[in-house]
Assembly symmetry: D2
Homo-oligomer: 258 residues x 4
Amino acid sequence: MALPDTQSEKDRRGLALSRVGVTALRWPVTVATATQAPKPSVGTWSLAVELPAEERGTHMSRFIEALQAWAQPISGEAITALAGDLRQRLYSQRAYAQVRFTYFRLKKAPVSGREGYIDYEVTYTYDDRVTDHPLSVRVVVPVATLCPCSKSISERGAHNQRGHVTVEVRGQSLPSLDELITLTEAGGSAELFSALKREDEKAVTEQAYDNPAFVEDVVRQVSLALEKLPGLSFYVVEAENFESIHNHNAFARRERTF
Amino acid sequence: MALPDTQSEKDRRGLALSRVGVTALRWPVTVATATQAPKPSVGTWSLAVELPAEERGTHMSRFIEALQAWAQPISGEAITALAGDLRQRLYSQRAYAQVRFTYFRLKKAPVSGREGYIDYEVTYTYDDRVTDHPLSVRVVVPVATLCPCSKSISERGAHNQRGHVTVEVRGQSLPSLDELITLTEAGGSAELFSALKREDEKAVTEQAYDNPAFVEDVVRQVSLALEKLPGLSFYVVEAENFESIHNHNAFARRERTF
Amino acid sequence: MALPDTQSEKDRRGLALSRVGVTALRWPVTVATATQAPKPSVGTWSLAVELPAEERGTHMSRFIEALQAWAQPISGEAITALAGDLRQRLYSQRAYAQVRFTYFRLKKAPVSGREGYIDYEVTYTYDDRVTDHPLSVRVVVPVATLCPCSKSISERGAHNQRGHVTVEVRGQSLPSLDELITLTEAGGSAELFSALKREDEKAVTEQAYDNPAFVEDVVRQVSLALEKLPGLSFYVVEAENFESIHNHNAFARRERTF
Amino acid sequence: MALPDTQSEKDRRGLALSRVGVTALRWPVTVATATQAPKPSVGTWSLAVELPAEERGTHMSRFIEALQAWAQPISGEAITALAGDLRQRLYSQRAYAQVRFTYFRLKKAPVSGREGYIDYEVTYTYDDRVTDHPLSVRVVVPVATLCPCSKSISERGAHNQRGHVTVEVRGQSLPSLDELITLTEAGGSAELFSALKREDEKAVTEQAYDNPAFVEDVVRQVSLALEKLPGLSFYVVEAENFESIHNHNAFARRERTF
C-alpha cells in the first residue's frame, strides 16, 4: 500500500523558495589537509535546494542520504561534489551546502618549542545563488591585540586582549586552510599558543607590546595579504576585540568584490 | 599636556573600511509601541561608521556618547536619527546602527482568556550601505507546526514541534512590530501561549492538527501576507522547525527585493 | 463536560521527584534597588516544586499564573514570597524559584567623569532543598586583570584581558546587589567602563599595570571582602580570565560554607 | 638568567582555593568504545588542582603539558589516570579533570533500516573533592515526547516535541556510554533518527502517540532503569521538553545518592 506523498502536491501560491532543507545537523567529518592525513572533527551542516513555485515541499530525508553516501574528507572540491549530488537527488536547479567545524593546528611555543593545539572555527559554503563564485571558505582566527592608543598615552603598560579575526574568501583559486590561517594570524599583535613556558610568555608579551594594532590595523594588514592572492573574486575581513577595559567589543570590517 | 591622538594618524595602506565601531554593547532601552507606553528591555548594540582609506582609526568613545545622548524609545525614526548623529560626531559619510532586544506581548489563552507573556527577539538595523532602503526590522516569532506528511501517513497523531519564523523587512513604510508579529504568527499551525488551562490546550492541540504546515508552507503563508503590505522594498522569511522526530532542524527561506 | 486530569493520576513507580516545573520562561521584570526606582529588565525564570512519589504530574499552568499574579520588583523577600505562593498553589512541601536578568549600573569614567552603563548578569535562586539557607544571589562581574608573571618577566608591557568574576552568596543577611558588585569589582586589576576618553584610558591602563592580579589573587581578594560580611552561610567566588595570549581561559575558585 | 617565578611566592591571605587551572580549552580527542575503534571528536576541557593557602598561584602551562603527554582514548580509567598525573605535575593533593565532547551513534531507521548519525553531548568529570566517588559520566540524550494530557483531552492529535534527557552517574562500576544512551532513549515517547523514509515516519509518529510521557514520566522511567544498575553511588536524571505549544520548557528532575 503506497503512503501518500504530501510533499509532491502542486502548490498554487506562486511563490518560489530560495532554500529548503535541513540545518543544525551534526555529523562526524574529516578535513582534508595539504600535507597531512585528513583530520577528524565534528561537522554542523546545512543542506538545501531551491524549490520551484509549483512544488509544495522537498524530500528532507534525501539530504541525509546524500550526506551518508558522500563520506569524503572536507575540501572545496568535495563540498562542490556534494552540492552536485543534492541537485540530482532532489531534482533542483540550485543547491546549498554549508559545514562548520573546529580545525586544530599543533603549534610550537616561540622559545621553548613546547607543542599544543590551537582551535579555529571553519565554515565551507557552496551556494549556487552566489553570482561571483559559489564556494567560500571562512575561518575565525583568535589573536592577541595591543592598543596603540593605550600604549602611546600611558607611562607604563598598554591594554591588550584576545580578538577574533574572521576571514572569508571566494574565487577560482582559494588558499589552503593552513595558508589562510597563517596569513590571518600575522595580522594581530601576537599569535596565540596553548603551551607557553615563562620564556615564551616573556617573548609573546614583548612582541605584542612592540607591535600594537587597532582592529582597523588588523583588518588592513590581513586585507593587504589577501589582495596579493591570485584568483579571489571576493573577500571580507572582520576583527573583533574583546576589549580588556570595556565590557563591549571593538570591531572593524572590510569587504571587496573583484 | 595634550595626549597623542593615535587614531587621527594618516594611513598609507590605501584601504577603506566599511565599518569600524563597537559591538556587543548592552544598554537599557525602551521600545516605542503604536498604542501603549514604551516598553522597557535590554538592548544589544552595534554602532559603526565607514572609515576612509587615509584615516588610521575611529574614536570609539564617541559611539558611547552618542548612545548616552540619544536616550529615545526605539523606533525606525529614532534609529535613523541615531545614525545621523553618528555621521556627525564621527565625521563619516555612512553610519551603521543595530539593536537587538526582547519584546514582550501579553497574550490571552484562546478559551480561558488567561493572560501571559510571549517573548520575541527583535532587531532594528540602519545601514547607509544598503541600497534599497537603509532601515530594516527583523523579528523571530515562535510558532507550533504540525507535519502534513506525518498526519497524512499515520493512522493516529502527527509529529509537531516548536519552530522559529524569522521575518525581516525594509522599505519606505514598515508595519509596526505588533502588525509584523501578528501576521507572522498566523503562518504556523498554531500560535504559542504561556498560560494554557486544559480547555485551552485542547483547543490549541486540535487547531494545530487541523492546520498542518511544512516549513515551506509557513514561509509561503507569511510571504503572502508580506506581499500585500505597501511600501516594502525587501523581505526575507525563514522558518526553522526543531523537529520532534529528528535531532536536526528543517528550514525554508524566501527573499524578495522589489 | 469535565476534561480528564491526567496529571492527577496516582503513580505507582514509587519515585519522588525533586523538581518539576517550567524553565527558560522569559518575562518582563523590574529589579528592586536600595536607593533608586526599580530598574526594568528581562527575566529568564525556572519555577518548580517537589513532586511526591504517588503523584503522576504537576499542573504546569499554575506556575505561569503564580508569576502573573506576583508582579513585584525582584528582591530576596519577593522571590521568597513567590516560592511560598508556589507551595500553596501546587500543594507541595518544597518550592524552587530562579530568575536571571541583566542589571545595569551607570558608571562615571575615572578622570573625565563621562557616564555609561555596565551590565551584570544576576541570578536569584530560592530553593527549599538547600539546607544552610534557601535564598542565594549570584552576580557575574566583568573586570580587567593584568598578569603578575607577565609583568615581572617582561622588559615592557604585560598581558592583560577581560575576566569574569562570579560571586554567589547565601545567608540570613545578604548584601545589596550594588554592594556585592562594588566589592567584586575591587578584586580585579581595574574596573571596566563603557565611556573612556583618552585621559581615562591612560588612568585605567596604568592602574591595571600597577595592580597585577592572577585569577588566584582575584578570588582571594573578593573572598577576603566576603569574609567580612555578617550573616553569610555560604559563598563561592570564581574568576575566569579570557587570556589574551591563549585561546583558553584561566580560572580559580573558592567556596566556603559557614 | 633565571626569570622570576611569581606563582611560587608565598601567600599570606590564608585562603585555600578548591580549584585553579584552565578551562574552555579545546583539543582533539578520541573516545573509547566497548566494541569499536576509538571515535574521534572535539574535546572541551577544564583541568584544575587544589591550591593550598600558602601558595600564591599554580603553573598553568603544566596542565597543557599533561594533556599533551596523556593522549589516550577517553574513558573513565583514562580520565582518572590524567587526574593522577595532574596531582603529580602540580604537587597538589586533589585534582579536577572534565571533558565535554559530541559522541555519535549510527542508528538504523525502524522500518527501512536507513542509517544516519545521532549526536549526544557527553561529559566526563573526575573530581577528588566529591565524596561518594570521584568519577562521573553525563550524557544529554535527545528524545521525542508526546503529552499524555493533550492526548487525553483532545479529539484528534496530541502535542509533542523534542526533549533533552540529561543523565549523570557516579559509582564503582559505571555503564558504558552506549548502555547509558540506550536506557535513556527508552524513556521517551520515541527515539530520534536522522534518516526517516515515509514508512519510518509513520512508525515513529504512531509509536509516540501510543506511548505518551510527561517529563515526570520520562525521569521516572529512566530512573527505574538506573535503579537496576549495580555499582552506582549517585545518579541524577533531568528531562526538559521544548514544548511545542509554549515558548518555554517543561522540566523534571530526580537525584539519588546511595
